[in-house]
Symmetry: C2
Subunit: 305 residues, 2 copies
Amino acid sequence: MSLLTVGTVAFDTIETPFGKAEKVIGGACTYISWASSYFTNNIHLVSIVGDDFPQTELDKLKSRGVNLDGLKIVQGGKSFFWAGRYHNNMNSRDTLVTELNVLADFDPILPVAARSCKYIMLGNLTPSIQSAVLDQLDGSQKLITLDTMNFWMDIAMDELKSVLKRIDLLTINDEEARQLSGKHSLVQAAEVIHEMGPKYLIIKKGEHGALLFHGDEIFFAPALPLAQVFDPTGAGDTFAGGIMGYLAKTDDTDIENMKRAIIAGSAMASFCVEDFSLNKLQILTEDDITERMKKFKRLMHFELL
Amino acid sequence: MSLLTVGTVAFDTIETPFGKAEKVIGGACTYISWASSYFTNNIHLVSIVGDDFPQTELDKLKSRGVNLDGLKIVQGGKSFFWAGRYHNNMNSRDTLVTELNVLADFDPILPVAARSCKYIMLGNLTPSIQSAVLDQLDGSQKLITLDTMNFWMDIAMDELKSVLKRIDLLTINDEEARQLSGKHSLVQAAEVIHEMGPKYLIIKKGEHGALLFHGDEIFFAPALPLAQVFDPTGAGDTFAGGIMGYLAKTDDTDIENMKRAIIAGSAMASFCVEDFSLNKLQILTEDDITERMKKFKRLMHFELL
C-alpha cells in the first residue's frame, strides 16, 4: 500500500559524548522515509529544501522507492538546519541552533498521486500545516498518523486539538502525553487523548520503550538494551517510519498487527541510534531487520505455566 | 522449597499526593514475606523489632506460613522507623525521618532450621550483616539473592563487593547499577556486575519495569500501567518477594523460569502500589495473582509473522 510522509528534510549538527557530526543529513521526513523504505517502495515524500541539499541524497531516496514529486526545492534557498548537544546520559539535549530557512514558507502541495495514499505519516510540524495536508487528501485513507511535540502544545494547543480530531494514531512522548491530557498516569492520559480523537495512541519513552493504547488494550514494547547508544537523533521518527512502513506493507490496522508494527518501529529505532545521522539506516538488509525483530521477541517472551 | 528472608520489619509514615499514613507496618522483610507467602508457606523470617510491634501483625504473618523463630523482639526497644514524602510524580521521595532504634544492634542469628533454607533473600541491610547471614548457611542453597542500595555503595563499597562474590542474583535499580559498575549503558553495567559475582542481575526501573541479565540473555518485564499509583513504598521488596516466592514454589532457577518469576514479582508489585502499606497485599487471592500475571502476558505478547 502507498505511504505519504510529510515533514522536514534538513541538516543537523550533532554533538554527543562520542563525537561531533557537522551538517549531516537529518529531518523527520528523511528518517521516516528511510525507515519505511525497508518495508514498502511506494512512498510519497512531501517536504521543502533549499538548493544546498545534496542531489546524491535525493537520488538515494529515489532508489529506495521514494517519490519526490512533492519535494519543493527552493532555488537560492537554504534547507532547515538544527544543531544540538546531548548530555552525558544521552536522554536529554540542548538545542544550540534552529534555522527555519525555507521551512518558514512551507506550504505543502500534495501531488495528485499522493492524495490517495492509504497510509499517512504527518511528521512534527505546525498543526495548521498538518491540517492543510489533511485537507488535500481524497478521503480514502486507512490510517492517518500524527507526530507532534510540547512546543505546539505551548503555543498552538487549539490548532493541535483541531487536527487531533482528524487522525487515527498519535505518537508523543510521556511528558507530552501528560501535558496534553493534564493527567500524570499514562493510563488516564490515554483515556483523555482517545476522547480528543485518535483511537490509537503510542506513548514513546525513549530508552524505556513505548506503550500502545487502543480502547482498553495496552501493549508495551521495550527499547532494545544496547551496549552503546551513539546518537539518538531521529530515533522517534525512525520508530514512526518503521511502524508506518510495516503497516503499509501488511495493510492491516488490527491491534495484533499494530503490535508487530511497533516492534518493527522499535527495531528500526535501535539501528538508528547505533551511528550518527542515517549512517546505519542506509546500509541495512532485510535479514538485519528480521533478526532484530526476533531479538525483541526473545527480550519479551515468556510462557506462563 | 524453603525460603529465608532477612531484613527490616518496621514502621513507616508515608505522605503521598493522595494522603498520609501514620506509623503503618513497613520494612523490607515484611513486604518480602507477604509477597512470597502467596507462593510458598515454608518461609523463615530473620529480623529484629521492639516490643512496640503489634502482635496481631506477627500473628498474621504466622498464619501465612512465616516462621518467626528468627525474629528477635527487644523488650523495651523501639522498632525501626522511616518517614518519607513522595513528590507529585511519585517517582522520587524525600526521607523525613530515619530512626534505626533496635536495628542499630541487629546481629542476625539464624535458627538451625533456617540455615538449610534453599532460597535466600537478603533484604537491603549493611553488607557486613548480609555477609554474616551467609556465614551461617549450611552450603546447600540453590539461589541466594541480595538487595542493596546506593547508600552502601557510598560508604561500604568494599564490604558490598565482598558479599557480591557470594550471591547468585543481585537486585538494584538503574542508577545503582550505573554507580556500581561505572558504566552508563545497562548492557555494559551488567557485564561488569556479572564479573563481580552474581550470575543473575535484575535492574529495577520503577514505573519503567525491570531487566533481567544472565550471560548474553536479556529479558524485559514492564511495570503494569496503572490508572493510579497510590503508594510506591515497598514495591521493590514486594517485587523481590514475589520472585523468590515463585522460585521457592517451583524450585527451578533456569532462565525460562526466572522470567516467570519476574512476572510474578511484577504482578505482586503492581498490587502493592495500589494502596498504602500492606493493605492490598494482605487481601489477595490466588485468582487475583493468576489474573494479574495473565495481564502481563497480554501486555507483552505479540506474534511475528
